[in-house]
């Protein structure tokens, strides 16, 4: 493709040089560039194909970075990146690595924040506006929020607060009628009414929050958008510009099946088929199959998701089979969690299935609504691991430090499939306390030792009884611990004790005490940041005892673009390096 216009764009000032009637040609080039990257390395397809014209119009009308654009979620920022000097990352295969999937100030002065979760843009933008005003700066502040993000508490708090401000703030609602799966919550009925009435229906969420409001029906028509943005530029109060766009615009398959094409792996443009077929057993399929089986005889189980059912294995077919026993609350993790507490209170068996990275939204609800109230909620946590998503916004290695220190809950770390199922069943069947269940991430392995099904109190499983050195290898790192035990055993000629701690909360003091008789070295392994984690508790227990403790895990820092092998070596998480350390 000859990127006639795109190749000439080194920044927003070059967008403005293009005659307005040629902007649709630029849009076509941007879509080609999106195809070039996404067919080859995958990415967020639907959101970016839908926002092409809006990104062009924003940069045509406003003067970034003096005017500040805040993209919600920021996975809808690819066209924005192309218009701000980063087009090569899409048009030139050798430059794919130049950009990440989200806005990132380290990449460009046109990216205000590094953000990968939804629902943050309005609050952040109110702050930019406030900061602009107290420091005597000028310029427009523009938040671009998707309809799916509107149901999140932070977004709703932000809209409400914005409704009280008396300064420039433009909130563009990119309404593509879809979050990731279908939208949920009553407010989406109102968005539909607003679309149907051309923005004129009297019930209006935004006006009820005190906000001025405009509607643009033709959200994929650059000229309509340029006109709308010109009208609100330099406005002296907060205003919502509600824009109706088509998710996946420009690729029929994506327009029709919006959930599937929200994110898509590398694919063949002609057939729409992924280049690599993934298959076989995963914890997602194990979870879905197991719950469906249990639902046959127990209708009190309720599986709850917050807008990412696909990410936890609940595709459309599974959801349909679950029927009333499945609830998607939309992007509303706080609601999901507190609701689960209520369900448990009335004898239901709630399971909130989400990714570790999104669970940081529910620290409060897990503490007060759930744990303080002793509600038997299962928090089914995926990707709480270095083996999960590897960017700083999505990496799940904070989960142990986040949840295991909250009073009243039990944090369980299975080491393989059979133990995972036993823990899941136990969590569902007990009525005493919340459980955080960290789903294994290092592929589906069979549990290496007979599953200990005694979950009454914190009891470790001593898998191999040796002497001198004991390895406590938690959850996903159990296999590493097993290999390290074998390696050290071979090297020293003395059998190493191998323990599956099973729990990240509390300590099995009896077992720990027992090790003192014939062990001088204790090694802890955990798939998480050390600070606030499992190993430090073990170290504290042994603090005044005559034994050496080595804690292995990750540093308290934002890991980004993780190469697992490199990080594991850097943190000395290999049998050889552990052996070297303790000798």
């Amino acid at each position: 493709m000859d990127y006639k216009y795109l190749n000439a764009i080194n920044g927003p000032e070059d967008v403005k040089k293009i005659p307005e009637d040629k902007l649709p040609e630029l849009a076509a080039e941007i879509r080609e560039a999106l195809f070039n990257r996404l067919t080859k390395i995958g990415g967020h397809f639907g959101p970016n194909f839908g926002i092409v014209e809006m990104a062009i119009a924003l940069h045509y009308v406003f003067e970034s970075p003096k005017d500040q654009l805040v993209f919600d979620v920021a996975h809808q920022s690819y066209p924005h990146k192309m218009l701000t000097g980063r087009a090569k990352a899409y048009t030139d295969d050798e430059h794919f690595g130049d950009v990440g999937g989200f806005t990132n100030p380290a990449e460009s002065e046109h990216d205000m924040f590094y953000i990968g979760h939804t629902s943050t843009s309005v609050s952040l933008a109110t702050g930019l506006a406030q900061g602009r005003d107290v420091t005597g700066k000028s310029g427009n502040v523009i938040a671009i929020i998707g309809d799916g993000s509107l149901s999140g508490g932070e977004a709703l708090e932000g809209l409400d607060y914005a409704g009280e401000m008396n300064t420039n703030l433009i909130i563009v609602v990119n309404d593509n009628e879809q979050s990731i799966a279908e939208n949920h919550g009553g407010l989406y009925k109102n968005l539909a009414s607003l679309r149907e009435s051309g923005g004129k229906c009297e019930t209006n969420l935004f006006r009820s929050m005190g906000l001025d409001y405009r509607y643009v029906e033709e959200g994929n028509d650059v000229s309509a958008l340029v006109k709308a943005f010109r009208e609100v530029k330099d406005i002296d109060h907060p205003v919502v510009v509600h824009v109706h766009t088509q998710k996946g615009k420009g690729y029929e398959r994506a327009e029709k099946n919006r959930e599937n094409w929200h994110w898509f792996p590398p694919f063949d443009r002609e057939t729409g088929e992924p280049l690599n077929k993934w298959g076989g057993e995963s914890y997602n399929s194990i979870f879905a199959d197991h719950i469906l089986e249990r639902l046959e005889s127990d209708k009190s189980i309720v599986v709850v998701t917050a807008a990412v059912p696909g990410a936890v294995g609940l595709g459309r077919e599974v959801r349909t089979k679950m029927g009333k026993n499945y609830v998607d609350v939309g992007i509303a993790e706080e609601q999901a969690t507190a609701m689960c507490s209520g369900i448990a209170k009335n004898g239901g068996k709630p399971i909130f299935a989400t990714n570790a990275t999104f669970a940081q939204r529910i620290y409060d609800q897990m503490t007060q609504d759930v744990s303080l109230n002793g509600s038997a909620v299962t928090l089914h946590l995926s990707s709480a691991s270095i083996f999960g998503m590897g960017d700083a916004t999505h990496i799940g290695i904070s989960a142990i430090g986040m949840f295991s220190n909250i009073p009243g809950l039990v944090y369980m770390c299975p080491t393989g499939k059979e133990e995972y199922l036993a823990m899941l069943d136990h969590s569902i069947d007990q009525n005493d306390h919340p459980v955080v269940l960290a789903v294994p991430c290092d592929g589906v392995n069979h549990t290496a030792y007979p599953v200990c099904t005694d979950f009454d109190g914190v009891k470790y499983q001593v898998c191999e009884k040796g002497e001198d050195v004991a390895i406590l290898a938690l959850g996903d790192f159990f296999n590493l611990g097993r290999k390290a035990a074998e390696y050290i055993g071979e090297k020293t000629g003395r059998k190493v004790t191998l323990i599956n701690p099973r729990f990240a909360t509390g300590l099995d003091e009896k077992t720990l005490e027992g090790l003192l008789a014939d062990h001088r070295t204790i090694v802890t392994l955990e798939d998480g940041i050390l600070d606030g984690g499992f190993g430090q508790k073990v170290a504290s227990f042994y603090g005044d005892k005559d034994v050496r403790v080595f804690n292995y895990g990750f540093e308290r820092k934002f890991y980004d673009g993780v190469n697992v092998k490199e990080v594991m070596e850097e943190r000395r998480l290999t049998p050889e390096l552990i052996y070297e350390d303790i000798m």
Copy 2:
């Protein structure tokens, strides 16, 4: 007072025996009982005086506990408690201790949850409704939420989700036109319009969330309420009953000055004056004075609160003086935090002042919006201490474990006034990272040693250099550490090393390493739960070294009704017991 009706009430069934025209007499008795308790031991005055008639009407119409009442915040539950068998806790001084300040299932089957924060009731109620339905139970679920609570993200998520439900759920909005201080956010303009129009104005927040809606103007008229509740009883879909009440109803001073009388200490009923005058210096006044002074020369500082300005020392007069540099976002902690990130991004110097207990709401925002983005936000944390509020819903001893493990932020623990001010100034002036500043709670003490103003990296202050035993005493427990050092020194005849660690994040490895030369015993003291805290990090550091480490702090459990002296002794937090342990 002769509590003619109240004394005959042992449960909701007795309320129903009273003729409807006599209910105002019951209301008068309840107010007398409130006076009896609140003049003597203080409590939440305004909310409970305003909700008397509503509580009566709820129990007159519904059949608790089959019908389930969920009180938001639950500090508005005193009349409900009187009507469910707990009247003596208000009428009889000897029984004041029978009840706590919030609903608590341990007290009564009529209390659904133990909750002390706002904005949770709707989400919890959606769960009760869901649990009722999947388990085949029946009955009404009724959430009673105050207008001030509506701006919280969890409440808004809950309303939105409720708008999609197809089952019985009654949401009573107790609109007394006031949260704690004045209400904030655009939605309150809508509540005002709804009140003014008798519920008829077309812009309607609740309808825009997909909810059915009714309005009751006479919220302190029992008959009007009984009628309204009868109409919605057994309704087959979610409905909002918006009720206009008078906060502080029945006591003129409280009706007029609603902020002051939200919570009130013991007072003289005739004069309205508190029985005990508190005065003198507090960290609240130190904070307010210092910020006002700094604002004289620096207009980029912005102090943000979330509906509890009084609790952090920002009375009306101070707020007025701060002018535009003060922002109350209402109950919307997520908004407050993300907004601060935006303010910092544009060169402002934001300080979010709140209590540790409410800070559990912003774990997500502190992680992603603030720390990941390196925003120089000051989180000014009050009551992060055993010396703060002592009930399970409000105790602040989880703060270190909650925040100190988040990457990218610095958690500072001053030991006295001068150090607090130095740390506050440093936090405001630096532009590199967020700071959590744990305000001392054990009274205002002068800093015992010259303040170390080097905040570049984690450096501990060695206050006394001794040998053999070193005490690392963090923040509020520095004075305890000092006493312990003296006591142990006297007993052993060898001077004890006393260290002010200053930081709960990271370790000063150089100083810790240096102690190895001439120390065999390390003691850590922290005013927080040990799990995930400071001491365990020190223990981990010394894990493979030849030194004993003793970590002192609290257990991972929900402490409730704390008697500080007892808890300190139970956790061996006295010089004598520490000496006993390490010898």
